[in-house]
Symmetry: none
Subunit: 244 residues, 4 copies
Amino acid sequence: MEPAPQPSPATATPPTIGVDVRPRAQQRWDDDGPRSRRGAETRARLVEAAKAVFEEKGFHEARISDVAERAGLTHSAFYHYFDSKEDILLEVAAVLDHTLNAGVDIILDPSSTATPRERIAAAMRIRLEAHRKEARIMNVIEQVSRHNEQVRALWTQFYKQHVKEMANSIEQLQRRGLADPALDPVMTTDALAVMTIRFAEQSLLQDDAGYDFDAAVEQITRIYINALQLRDPRKPRRRRDDTG
Amino acid sequence: MEPAPQPSPATATPPTIGVDVRPRAQQRWDDDGPRSRRGAETRARLVEAAKAVFEEKGFHEARISDVAERAGLTHSAFYHYFDSKEDILLEVAAVLDHTLNAGVDIILDPSSTATPRERIAAAMRIRLEAHRKEARIMNVIEQVSRHNEQVRALWTQFYKQHVKEMANSIEQLQRRGLADPALDPVMTTDALAVMTIRFAEQSLLQDDAGYDFDAAVEQITRIYINALQLRDPRKPRRRRDDTG
Amino acid sequence: MEPAPQPSPATATPPTIGVDVRPRAQQRWDDDGPRSRRGAETRARLVEAAKAVFEEKGFHEARISDVAERAGLTHSAFYHYFDSKEDILLEVAAVLDHTLNAGVDIILDPSSTATPRERIAAAMRIRLEAHRKEARIMNVIEQVSRHNEQVRALWTQFYKQHVKEMANSIEQLQRRGLADPALDPVMTTDALAVMTIRFAEQSLLQDDAGYDFDAAVEQITRIYINALQLRDPRKPRRRRDDTG
Amino acid sequence: MEPAPQPSPATATPPTIGVDVRPRAQQRWDDDGPRSRRGAETRARLVEAAKAVFEEKGFHEARISDVAERAGLTHSAFYHYFDSKEDILLEVAAVLDHTLNAGVDIILDPSSTATPRERIAAAMRIRLEAHRKEARIMNVIEQVSRHNEQVRALWTQFYKQHVKEMANSIEQLQRRGLADPALDPVMTTDALAVMTIRFAEQSLLQDDAGYDFDAAVEQITRIYINALQLRDPRKPRRRRDDTG
DNA sequence: AATGAATGAGCTTTCATTCAT
DNA sequence: AATGAATGAAAGCTCATTCAT
């Protein structure tokens, strides 16, 4: 258990999420946080271990000793770094936040010459990939968010952020006459985001069989585009049978 | 040894779901079930109480004594009727199964003269209403389903059942040239079902603010119809820009 | 469960053991005892059931409901007849007392013309048979006797009684010069009784394999006779042919 | 991670009995065992306490908290060292195993110049002493052995071992013409072992009155020797040909 | 920084027993 | 006489957490 070399930067830096939702976590960081390199490494190992354990057993079933042991530590060593299970979950969640919001920008990138359709397809793939990978832990986070204020804040923020960006994007398309004007951008994004995320969670889990990933990407993209009644710009009038 | 007198219909009927997923629950019913009117009432009260408590605190946080007390009973009285928390959750879930599958038929009812669009709108409303109402407990069930085989069986069955019916319906529409033929019926239904259910769960919870219900129904329906590229039948040929 | 015809006389009569060791049991009999024929039958069925259950599961593992159910009764019906598990065990034990002391008389029967050796062989067989049959329940009784005063009294009385009779017999043999005079009659009987009883319990349980029964009888008898250095009378030396 | 420092020899040595019957106990030792001196002491105290409590109250009546409290610990501290009551009983039993098998060798020691008679007398004393001392706990062990596989294995092994050794010894005596050839060595040993052990248990318990110890040793020895029809070697010829 | 020992709160579960019917 | 419902006491066990080293 000695190795675990790079102190994953993501965890070693105080997570840079917009609103800082970490009363206790922050205290920790300022007061109790690891002062030595070795400490930082151990801490990172714990976060990693926590994620794995939560994914495997869920939050409630996960024991602090499970986490500690997987990190090659004693039960009680855990308390050097975190105050509680909730505490470490917050850290796990913060790290995740980064990962998941990565690809979204593509859709909105104004410098891109891609058609909306292409952008959506690209974004879809990226997002589904991310969710397929992180579905388990997101599920955990979401579950906990229902009973833990801090986690809820983090989760909401993440979700709302995503929806907001998408909503903007849809609005633009509507303004340019490229999307069904009768759709409410926010609600639509919400619904479609839910669809995307949950579908990934539920039917794309790698070891849970489900569908072929590429086929799924294609189908979800099509549904998405259909739903928006998306038209490609500048082409005088698309006929709808080439939608793919 | 009277022949297990009429139990209160709502909660106590042995749920008539396709596959019977109730090893212990069934035993209970046959062997240990309440034999007196009073017992049946108590049992029903317990199921009711359990649902409420689970909704409030989630499954793991819920204590058996919470349930018992809410039903006006002692802790140990609980064990007259159920073997465990899981056991009573199964009962709660079974009851719910009924409720939720109620409105689906409308979509498929062949005797109806309504257009597909109308049917979908109707089904959507019914379904969203049901889910809005039962979202909390469904969430609980779904959570537990990840770690409990029996609950998973029940939940899967419920979900799969729903998807299958919808898929059939979509296939018919496709065959009649009324829906986008490029969509895979099963995957599409899955995705759209996920969207509907989860949107309801997440954004329509009564006390959780969110959107205006009627507006939401309208939007979700529109998205749904758009996604399918649904055309109304018998009209010689619709041009697709008036889809609204 | 209706049959169970003859109210086994042994249980229906207040057991006729020397000292009456049944404070509560007696109360029951006088105060609460079954007044109707049906009651007496049920009571007998309970005693029978108790014996069976105790044999199967031991005293501590046995639940009152096990007993009641085996007697075709409800848990709570048990309390019409007995105050507790201990209470019913006392009854079981009392019944047993009779059975087990049955064959002993043969050894002492003065009218018999058999040689001591023959008498011992006969007594041995009878006793081993009885113990083989009742070893399980005796074991239970003995176990309980360690923690329950009343049961202990009953058990001791039974055992002491047996030892005393045997000791008398040995003493006579010694006086007639037919047994090793260096043996202390009481201690010897005790030791040999222990041997007999326990050997039966431990190695002759019917379903527990062990030895062939007849061979065992023969061997134990031989050991017994050897141990006493028993000589047959009527050989030149001794003239007292009145073995009694 | 120190190498499991020297545990208090009496209770803590991994018992060196022939077959290792300690699935969980062994795990414990390797994985969970006390790693500090203090821990080892506590563990030893627990084993000691357990023995005492079991002797006083019997296994079923003994509460884990009784044991813990007697060792000056909390209820839950117990679970640092043992998984269950059964678990600690196994340890108690293993320790006992040593003690009880100590003196047997004397009988068989070929270098000894003592006569068989003398050897038996010596062995008898040792064994009776041991049993007198440990009768209570052996009783507990035996009781539990009826319902616990592991304890049964340990107990059986102990008993069988003993019987086997004695049987060999008897066989030798028979071959040398020093013991009644009509006796079956195994059955005889079994019976005589039962006699010895149980007599000690039943009649020699120190605080339970009974007989004078030395007298008892003498008597049991005599019975034993009689039973075998033991002759001293080298004495020309015993004339008692009426042994059968 | 890290560990092992120890604690205490709390939960599930089992059962003998009582009560109303 | 018999039942089902209900209770209360107690047990076993788990775990997060603290403490001394």
